[in-house]
Amino acid sequence: MKRRKLLLILFGIACLLPGGAPLAELVVVVNVRSGVSAMTRGEVVNLFFGRSRQLFNGIEAQVADLQDTHPDREHFYRALVGKELADINAYWARQLFSGHLRPPPQLKTSEEMLRWVAERPGGVGYVDLRQADARVRVVYELKP
């Protein structure tokens, strides 16, 4: 009897785990007035890793990232470069403490990300496709 109860509880916990939830389909978004309509994966990687600091038309890119606690951040880097957050954080630790680059600002929510992009001509960010509204333009879709 006790055993069955335990199994039921475990099953209940398993159902609550996020594993079953569908992964967000993430997209890279830019400001609608940026003049950019599409990006290659290479361009997205160059921007989000600080290798390139401007959009193809010369506008200075202003990239924003999410905080580690936001699940989209982990999904984004897994889908983009197949890396875990620890790798990404190690990369930025190297850039920051060797005096090369400052990491992009890390925002709390996707709404903040949308506002960041909408308010800056060179704004670049990533959100769930369902959240990408008229304020931003989708330029790259990540396969989950």
Binding site: T40, G42, E43, V45, N46, R51, S52, R53, Q54, F56, E60, A61, A64, D68, V81, G82, K83, E84, L85, A86, D87, N89, A90, Y91, A93, R94, L96, F97, S98, G99, H100, R102, P105, L107, E112, W116
Partner: protein, 401 residues
């Protein structure tokens, strides 16, 4: 360089002002004008050698023997960045670690102003990291790399990681790739321990640069630098006790370093794709002075991540070529100290235990010629050793932002 000293003093004052501003009122959370962040490594290192002491780099006067010691790998650093205008930023980093004078006195690792003229062109002035050897300026940031410490065999001959001077960095995108070039001029900011003395090289002019190509998972870099020493090795006292005139004067002239050049050449390639990391680096150093042997070194590192755990394997070697001309046994003994002929096999594992925290365990098996003394401390009286040393290291790396 007094200019750099003046700059760093100004910078620390400016930063103190920035700190007050932070304490006084909230800043915009999104893109802070002022930020403080830090890194630390707590390390325990031991070797199985009764003969020699293992050091991380040549700035350390004592190293690890049979007992576990924290001095080899432990380090703590704190860095402040202040955005003065959209194009101008100030950065200051202080680091505390076991250093040339056997203390943990904090040192100014970086203190510079960066001016971004365009997104593709930036200037820096002050105390700067040098990276004509790939990854040379992140050698103390354990969290940023796979291994416990940077590969010794590759870096033995580069005992400093910063210069007081200026540099210019240009970058340009070609298709999916990025081409970068850097030029620098300055003087190394370092003191090197030499027996009981210290060798001053912090006013010796140095210039160099690199070209770097990064595309997809690949990064390639070719670097060059030249350093002209301004001072002789602090040997006069020691030699005077051992040699009468005229051999003394003749020997000191032979071991002259002032006015002599060192040329540093290096090539590096990094392959970084998903869970895989591969690094290959080679270097060649030409020494004009008879006191040092020219050398070359190579290092290969391979790692693969499995979830939070990344095992890695490495192999490196360093060789130096003895000078042909010989003067007398005392001079031979001095020159023997710069000889290196060894290889190191490395196996280890990095475990990312929590956010911004990594635990590492590493074994290094050093196999050397009995005359390979350069990278070690407390040389044996006979100038020879068994040539076998195993080094075990455990570190906890942390960064806070």
């Amino acid at each position: 360089m007094p200019v750099a000293h003046f700059l760093s003093r100004c910078l620390s004052r400016l930063l103190a002002g920035g700190l007050l501003a932070v304490l006084a009122g909230p800043l915009v959370a999104e893109d802070p004008a002022f930020s403080i962040q830090g890194f630390a490594t707590l390390g325990a290192t031991r070797s199985d050698s009764r003969e020699l002491e293992f050091v991380r780099d040549l700035s350390q006067p004592r190293g690890a023997r049979l007992e576990w010691t924290p001095s080899v790998d432990s380090v703590a650093g704190v860095q402040a960045d202040w955005r003065l205008t959209p194009a101008l930023t100030a950065t200051v980093q202080a680091v505390s670690r076991y250093r040339h004078d056997r203390s943990y006195a904090p040192e100014l690792a970086w203190a510079f102003l960066r001016y971004e003229a365009t997104p593709e062109l930036s200037w820096r002035a002050g105390r700067l990291g040098t990276d004509f050897f790939m990854l040379a300026d992140s050698r103390l940031i354990g969290y940023s790399y796979l291994t416990v410490r940077p590969v010794g065999d590759f870096f033995w001959h580069l005992p400093f990681s910063s210069i007081d001077g200026v540099d210019l960095l240009a970058s340009r995108v070609f298709g999916d790739g990025v081409l970068r070039g850097k030029l620098f001029y300055g003087a190394p900011s370092a003191h090197l321990p030499l027996a009981q003395e210290q060798w001053k090289i912090d006013d010796s002019p140095m210039a160099g640069g690199y070209l770097d190509w990064q595309q997809g998972s690949w990064q390639w870099r070719a670097g060059y630098a030249a350093l002209r020493f301004n001072h002789d090795l602090p040997l006069a006292g020691t030699l005077a006790r051992l040699l009468p005139e005229p051999w003394l004067a003749e020997s000191l002239a032979h071991l002259k370093t002032a006015g002599r050049r060192s040329d540093y050449y290096s090539l590096g390639a990094v392959y970084d794709d998903g869970p895989w990391q591969v690094q290959l680096m080679v270097n060649r150093i030409e020494q004009q002075s008879a006191a040092f042997e020219s050398s070359h070194a190579a290092s290969l590192l391979l790692g693969r991540r499995f979830g939070g755990v990344t095992p890695y394997l490495g192999y490196s070697l360093a060789r130096s070529s003895p000078k042909r001309e010989r003067l007398n046994p005392v001079v031979d003994r001095v020159m023997a100290d710069s000889h290196v002929q060894q290889s190191t096999s490395t196996a280890g594992v990095r475990w990312d235990v929590a956010r911004h925290t990594a635990l590492k365990f590493q074994w290094d098996g050093i196999r050397a010629a009995s005359t390979s003394l350069f990278p070690f401390r407390d040389d044996p009286a006979g100038g020879r050793w068994s040539g076998r040393m195993n080094v075990y290291s455990l570190t906890l790396d942390y960064v806070f932002r």
